[in-house]
Structures are given as structure tokens and as C-alpha cells.
Symmetry: C2
Subunit: 141 residues, 2 copies
DNA sequence: TTAAATGCAAACGCTTTGCAATTGA
DNA sequence: TCAATTGCAAAGCGTTTGCATTTAA
């Protein structure tokens, strides 16, 4: 079922602003911030307002159509839930973001459930550290 | 070497404000926010200002005397580095924070290094999810 | 027709900053 | 003595909110 249908099903209106935000989210190659969504939206629909972006994102979150990820940048990033959940390695030196395969965190998830009774929600997980390249550079220096 | 000595060694002054912030951090039972530090500081030194708290925390971070942790609350929490690094499980339902034993994440750290060349910095890691109690409650309901 | 959604402007909470006054070494 | 540090007030940033206006259904 498409985002549009899900909105409708739940009694929400399909406004042009919402359709554009959804389209922008779908076209985004990476996790995208509210500000970036707004900039793209504004280009195509100059009257649009950033508060509408936030309200739309809030709604899409409630409907589990988008998820949030916090890369420790002081702002949150969004992406379409159906695109699947990547986990991320964020380099503290160069800012690069490495996508992590879904199964890489399965052992951790299992351990937490078994030993702590804790059902980890790893959908938005970002782990910071140093990437291979930056570590090489540092070794040389 | 104590925090006071390290500050001195690096050419920084030992002001009463800084000494109090350090003391408050050391006495804190859990990770503590800038606001909470300020409230305690203000009680003992009413002229103190919150910008001094932030500047002191910035300095202590640079000297690796404190670390930051982000529990997704929209504000960061601090704790004394020498107290060791706990990892945290944050319950999305009740907000409870469960401390995780240091070794619990070693396998993950090893995997990331081996397979991605990525040196994960897990000092501030907080994993969100649902704690055992809340899962029980939900099952009943 | 009408409740839902928008645009606008103002406020929010946390954090940072410029600057003159103070103070530790 | 004098650069480092502080307090203050103002601004900065991302986000949220109240309200009158517009609009999808």
C-alpha cells in the first residue's frame, strides 16, 4: 500500500504539500533533514512553509511511514520506512556515513534480549567512531 | 592525576566555578545535563551563569575529562570519563535507563573493526527499545 | 459545507557568542 | 600585572505553537 493510500485510509487529506514531502523523501538518496526537505519543497512550491514540513513528518512518523535517525548533528534526519533500515557508522573525523548491513547487528540484538530482556529498536542506530581511511591518515601523521 | 591537576597542567585556571562543576560531575549518580549542573551550581554559588557551565563542559571534553551521552532527549548529558564508560539501554515506553556491562558490546566492536575497518567509539552509546517490564505490560494489555 | 490543514509570526528550549568587567597566577 | 575567565544579554539554531485563512473531500 502506498503512502498516499495509507494517509487516506487513516482519514488524512492528501494535500499538494504532503504529496511533495512524500515524493522528496522517496527520491532522497540518503537520510534527509527537515531543512533539506523544506529547501526542495520551496523550490517547487514557493508558498510552502517549514512548519508544514515538520507537521507532515510528525504525521508520517505516527503512521510508521518514515523513521528518524540521529547522527549526533544536533538535528534529526528522516527516511522512508519501507526502504528498509540501515544502520550507520558515522566517522567522527571526516563525517562520512557508512551503511551497515542489516544482519551485522543481529547478534547484539539477540544478546540484549536474552541477557537483559530488552527489545532493542535498532532502526535508527548510528554508531560513531573513526573510519578506515581516517585511521590510516592518522597513523601516517 | 586529578581533574584539577590536569587543568593546571594544560595551562587553565582553577576558578571556583570550574571546581564546583567538576565536583558536581563527580558527585552525580548518573549522567547529568548542563541544566542540572547549573541548578546545583547556582544553589552554592548564586552568581554563577549557565554559559560558564557550558564553557567548562566544553573544556573538560577537550581534555577528555568528561564524555557526552545522547539519550535522544533533545539535550546532551555528561559524565566523568574516569568513572568508566557504561552503555545504556533507554526504554522508549517508560524512559528507564538500564546500564549495560562494558563487555556486552565487545563482539560488536570487533566485528565492525574486522569487517568495516571502523573503530567504533562506543563510549556514549545509547540503544533505545523496550524494557522487559514494559514488554510484559504490553503483552497483558 | 466544514473539519482538517496551511501559512505566518511568534515563541520555544538548548546552546553559543560578543563584550565589558573581573580575577587567578 | 594581564591574559584568561566570567557574567550578562542577546542571538543562534532547530523545532513547535496559536490563530486566522484556506482547502480537500
Amino acid at each position: 500500500m502506498s503512502c498516499h493510500e495509507i494517509l487516506r485510509e487513516n482519514g488524512h487529506r492528501l494535500t499538494p504539500q504532503r504529496m511533495l514531502v512524500i515524493e522528496i523523501l522517496h527520491n532522497a538518496e540518503r537520510h534527509i533533514s527537515a531543512e533539506e526537505i523544506y529547501r526542495q519543497l520551496h523550490r517547487r512550491y514557493p508558498y510552502a512553509n517549514i512548519s508544514t514540513v515538520y507537521r507532515t513528518l510528525e504525521l508520517l512518523k505516527e503512521l510508521d511511514l518514515v523513521t528518524e535517525a540521529d547522527f549526533g548533528e544536533g538535528r534529526v534526519r528522516y527516511h522512508v520506512a519501507e526502504k528498509g533500515h540501515h544502520h550507520h557508522l558515522v566517522c567522527q573525523s571526516c563525517g562520512k556515513i557508512i551503511d551497515l548491513e542489516e544482519p551485522a547487528l543481529h547478534p547484539l540484538k539477540d544478546t540484549l534480549l536474552r541477557e537483559y530482556g530488552f527489545a532493542a529498536d535498532l532502526r535508527h542506530l548510528a554508531i560513531s567512531g573513526k573510519c578506515g581511511e581516517c585511521r590510516k591518515k592518522k597513523r601516517k601523521a
